[in-house]
């Protein structure tokens, strides 16, 4: 007699019977089958035939388990581990999680779709969070970074936010709140005497700076207080990177001499590799010597940092600074300075904070859309199990238990999505570091570290609970009637509403992101249309040449040298024009001061507006492609003969004299005793010196060798079709060195690169937000597609009836298109509402376009509608091709 026990047991495997009960049922049913088998064999069947015929009593589709699933005994509590007195909820959850993982290993397509969607959402969120954390939230890499502060002033009249000897020395002598105060500044210096001359950044610090930061040199020593005094021999400390690059990491370097700006300086120490300071990239540290006594001079050209004494708050520190402002020389009173002590970390971040938070919000929205999508997938899937869940509730199964089962499944999916998302985020941060967007500080601090991972786990869990809750709430109380009559469609309209609601939400959020990126695209277009004050920037090569007085003491000789270099550069093949200026448009130099205009009342210098000062030599405007609006260009004779002439920008001319031509012949001067009046000989077109999205800057162009600019650091601009070709820059260098072998070239950049840098933040936001919007659109469209496709399969029978009654395929298609477009219309209306509310907060990123730009809104809405049409039409077409006979036969 064949043995049927294993046949029966296999059919019970999906149930949760207690072991004894399962044995009983196996025994009973196996007996039944044996009885039947015996009877068939008695009737003449062979043993094997009898066995097959007996087993045929089990119908396909696992009916036994289905019918048994409704029974209480099929849901026995699992034996508690090690005789625990009561079921521990967490142990149960762990069991549910493992169970869910097993289920998904069998439902691969569903799991893959959900995990992929979540990975996109969680991955982008993790990537941007790693940036936000690295740039904004991670503590600075100094000991007790919370105690480090920067000392500034609120300067209502524009002058005095930084420090000069007067403020710094007063504060250092009188402060009560700080362990120490240190001054710092950066300067580009020339290093000569070792191979090719080189121009590098020097971080100038007072002696207190390194001890205050708790930074110790890895070799040699730091600065002494005597380094803070003028006239003391210069000493320098090398940064680790420069020591490795320039000296090959040789220990013997301490005590050697480095020629800085033509002056020999002793190397006294080497900094550790970990040293970074705010946004500086120094090669060397040099002293910042200050006069012994605080003079009355109102100069504000360096910064101050300090470490709070333990227990001192920012408020107390500000009060202390406020007290000391009153101790400044009387002349300072009219500046009306107020204290502004703030965390040093705030200084690193600069103005990118707002943009990063906006980006994080944007990817949060992408995550929300992804969750909506997975919630929809989940609802559809849970619906297929509705009968099982409803029966379990009807038979008194614990509802919390069912909720836990559903949540365990969603959490398993979310964690898998999080895992894949981390991989995605890792790749994204690597790309980000490789492209290194300019203006993004602390790029090296961006990493997927423990904190970021913790964030990812938290976000994954929250996402899992979020989209799992939709299914839990929907199935929390399946009606008893649903269970009894065996129908699966008991509350179908309600569930349909939830699904539709989710899709509408996704469309609305995706539309919002699309509108935001649309506004940024319009900003970029508007920015391109601004006349920046130059043309064809890709054909202009710029670089800086400095002639410190230690190289050439005599001003006239320095002037001749600049002219000779310009001449040599003009002789390089392919060069069409050469000019020079102390600052190239948009290069970030903002040397400014006030001017006195003849005939205008002399204003209090502290209260009048700062004008940008540039010192120029012939050829600058021509090379940049800027217009001479009125008057004549200046010449080398103007420079060498020190003629009292000056050039102003159109914006400045219009401010004083209404139009450019009236400005010619008028006189202005630097408001210092003895400064000569200078005649305006030319008015030139405006430069967007502060970036294309800022108003044109009012600029005064002094001829090179003037009373207001003594630094002799000049940027050359060379126009040529050969810019960017190999060897061209080398030929320019050779041309410079043919005049003086000791002059270093610094910061070689094309005008194009300078322009791109000034727009880097907007471009970065544009690219990132566009990516977020694209992902949102993709997920949203897939969401519409799956809802319509699911509706189509659910309505197969209805479609069959309609078509049997004579409906045309076109009518059926329209049915679904109407449904899809209806959802899209509601989503778009909602999205426009959200966008109108949110985009006001973006105005700092926008230029040339309002936050509620009808054109952007219209284009994006039309595009969204088109995408919806495509997503709807695919399943609609399939539905309209249904064979009515097949459809009617389908047992829904």
């Amino acid at each position: 007699m064949p043995d049927f026990t294993s046949d029966v047991r296999a059919r019970l495997a999906s149930l949760r019977l207690s072991a004894t009960r399962e044995d009983e049922i196996v025994e009973e049913l196996a007996q039944h089958l044996e009885d039947r088998c015996r009877e068939l064999m008695a009737g003449g069947a062979s043993a094997e035939d009898a066995r097959q015929m007996a087993l045929a009593d089990f119908r396909p589709g696992d009916l036994l388990a289905q019918q048994m699933a409704a029974l209480r005994q099929a849901h026995a509590k699992q034996p508690a581990a090690l005789a625990a007195p009561t079921e521990r909820p967490l142990a149960g959850l762990w069991q549910d999680l493992r169970h869910a993982a097993r289920i998904f290993s069998k439902q691969r397509a569903f799991a893959a779709a959900a995990v992929l969607t979540l990975a996109l959402g969680i991955g982008t969120t993790t990537a941007i969070f790693s940036v936000v954390y690295g740039v904004l939230l991670k503590p600075l890499s100094f000991a007790q970074p919370g105690e480090l502060v920067t000392l500034r002033h609120v300067a209502p009249h524009g002058a005095g936010s930084n420090h000069g000897p007067a403020t710094f020395l007063t504060y250092r002598a009188n402060q009560r709140s700080f362990e120490a105060i240190a001054a710092w500044d950066t300067a580009d210096v020339s290093i000569t005497g070792r191979g090719d001359p080189e121009r590098v950044q020097a971080l100038q610090v007072s002696a207190a700076a390194l001890p205050l930061l708790r930074v110790r040199p890895i070799a040699g020593r730091g600065f002494d207080p005597e380094d803070d005094r003028f006239g003391h021999p210069i000493r320098v400390i090398l940064t680790y990177g420069y020591w490795q690059r320039r000296f090959g990491g040789s220990d013997a370097v301490v005590g050697q001499t480095l020629v800085v700006n033509g002056t020999p300086a002793e190397i006294i120490g080497i900094l550790p590799a970990s040293f970074t300071f705010l946004r500086t990239r120094p090669a060397i540290l040099a002293p910042l010597p200050l006069p012994e006594n605080a003079p009355d001079r109102m100069s504000f050209d360096f910064q101050a940092l300090a470490r709070l004494k333990p227990g001192v708050s920012l408020t107390q520190a500000n009060a202390d600074l406020g007290r000391m402002i009153a101790l400044l020389p009387p002349a300072f009173a009219k500046l009306e300075l107020r204290p502004d002590v703030r965390p040093l970390a705030a200084d690193v971040i600069g103005d990118v904070g707002e943009m990063l938070w906006i980006l994080l919000a944007a990817v949060g929205v992408v995550l929300l859309i992804a969750c909506g999508n997975v919630a929809n997938l989940f609802l559809v899937r849970a619906e297929a199990r509705h009968q099982e869940l409803a029966t379990r509730v009807a038979l008194g199964a614990n509802r919390g238990r069912i909720a836990r089962t559903l949540l365990a499944e969603s959490i398993v999916l979310a964690l898998a999505g999080g895992g894949a998302g981390v991989a995605l985020a890792q790749a994204a941060t690597m790309v980000l570091r490789a492209i290194a967007p300019a203006k993004l500080p602390r790029l090296d601090d961006i990493d997927i570290d423990a904190t970021v991972l913790l964030f990812t786990v938290a976000v994954s869990l929250a996402s899992g609970v979020f989209f799992g809750l939709f299914a839990v709430v929907r199935f929390w109380s399946p009606t008893i009637t649903t269970a009894r009559d065996g129908s699966r469609s008991g509350s179908a309209p309600a569930r349909g509403r939830t699904r539709n609601g989710l899709v509408v939400g996704q469309i609305a959020l995706a539309l919002t992101l699309l509108i935001i990126s649309g506004l940024l695209v319009r900003t970029a277009v508007a920015t391109r249309q601004v006349d920046p004050g130059f043309v064809d920037p890709e054909h202009v090569q710029t670089f800086v040449v400095a002639i410190p007085p230690t190289f050439i003491r005599d001003d006239d000789r320095a002037g001749r040298t600049f002219e000779n270099i310009a001449g040599e550069l003009a002789r390089v093949p392919g060069v069409t024009s050469v000019g020079l200026s102390s600052s190239i448009t948009m290069d970030g130099e903002n040397n400014g001061n006030v001017i006195e205009v003849e005939g205008e009342p002399v204003l209090d210098p502290a209260r009048s507006r700062l004008r940008r000062f540039k010192s120029v030599a012939p050829g600058y405007f021509e090379t940049m492609g800027n217009r001479i609006v009125a008057g004549r260009s200046i010449s080398w004779r103007d420079i060498h003969e020190r003629r009292p002439v000056v050039v102003v920008s159109e914006a400045l001319a219009k401010e004083y004299w209404k139009d450019a031509s009236s400005a010619i012949g008028k006189r202005v001067r630097w408001p210092r005793p003895g400064a000569p009046w200078r005649e305006i000989v030319a008015v030139v077109g405006d430069e967007r010196d502060d970036g294309p999205t800022r108003p044109a800057t009012a600029i005064v162009y002094w001829p090179l060798l003037n009373e207001s600019y003594r630094w002799r650091i000049m940027a050359y601009a060379v126009r040529s079709a050969r810019v960017g070709t190999p060897g061209f820059l080398g030929e320019l260098e050779q041309a410079v060195w043919s005049v003086d072998r000791n002059l270093p070239l610094a910061r070689p950049e094309t005008l194009d690169q300078i322009q791109a840098r000034s727009m880097a933040q907007t471009s970065f936001a544009l690219v990132m937000l566009s990516l977020a919007a694209a992902v949102a659109l993709l997920i949203g469209v897939v969401g519409i597609y799956s809802v319509i496709a699911y509706a189509a399969t659910q309505q197969t029978r209805e479609i069959g009836v309609r078509m049997a009654l004579g409906a045309q395929t076109g009518q059926v298609r329209q049915l679904f298109l109407r449904q899809g477009l209806g959802l899209a219309a509601v989503g778009i209306a909602l999205g426009i509402g959200i966008a109108v509310m949110l985009t006001r907060y973006l105005s700092s990123l926008l230029f040339g376009v309002g936050p509620v730009d009808p054109m952007t809104y219209a284009i994006v809405s039309v595009a969204m509608t088109a995408a919806t049409l495509v997503a709807t039409d695919l399943p609609a077409r399939r539905a309209s091709r249904i064979d009515p006979i097949v459809a009617l036969r389908a047992d829904v």
Partner: protein, 117 residues
């Protein structure tokens, strides 16, 4: 072999008539599952067939409702078998279902055969 659509029968099983059949067959004396399936098949003249995957879930459901009670009975020289007998509650339900069924049949008879009365 079945003269009635088995899917329809399944639905009936879920309703009440199948319960009525089982309870009726157990009224006289306890029976085991195979016995029940054969009795239904033969007494209905082959019109009704309970498949194994419907019959036992039904028995277990009636047992969970405490309308019937299954016990293992051992007879000398045979394997033990599980016999089901009617409980007091089962007997009460049977009476009620019978009355309902009779009323239903009578109602149907009045409608379908009314004109011959």
């Amino acid at each position: 072999m079945s003269g009635i659509d088995t899917r329809a029968l399944d639905r009936e099983l879920k309703r009440g008539s199948a319960e009525l059949l089982i309870l009726s067959l157990l009224e006289a004396r306890p029976r085991h599952g195979y016995d029940l399936s054969k009795l239904i098949h033969t007494r209905s003249g082959g019109a009704l067939t309970f498949h194994i995957d419907s019959l036992y879930p039904l028995l277990y459901r009636l047992e969970e409702r405490e309308w019937i009670k299954g016990t293992w009975v051992e007879k000398a020289g045979e394997r033990r078998r599980r016999f089901y007998r009617l409980t007091a509650e089962g007997r009460r339900v049977l009476d009620q279902q019978r009355r309902t069924w009779a009323a239903f049949v009578e109602a149907v008879r009045r409608v379908t055969g009314g004109e011959h009365a």
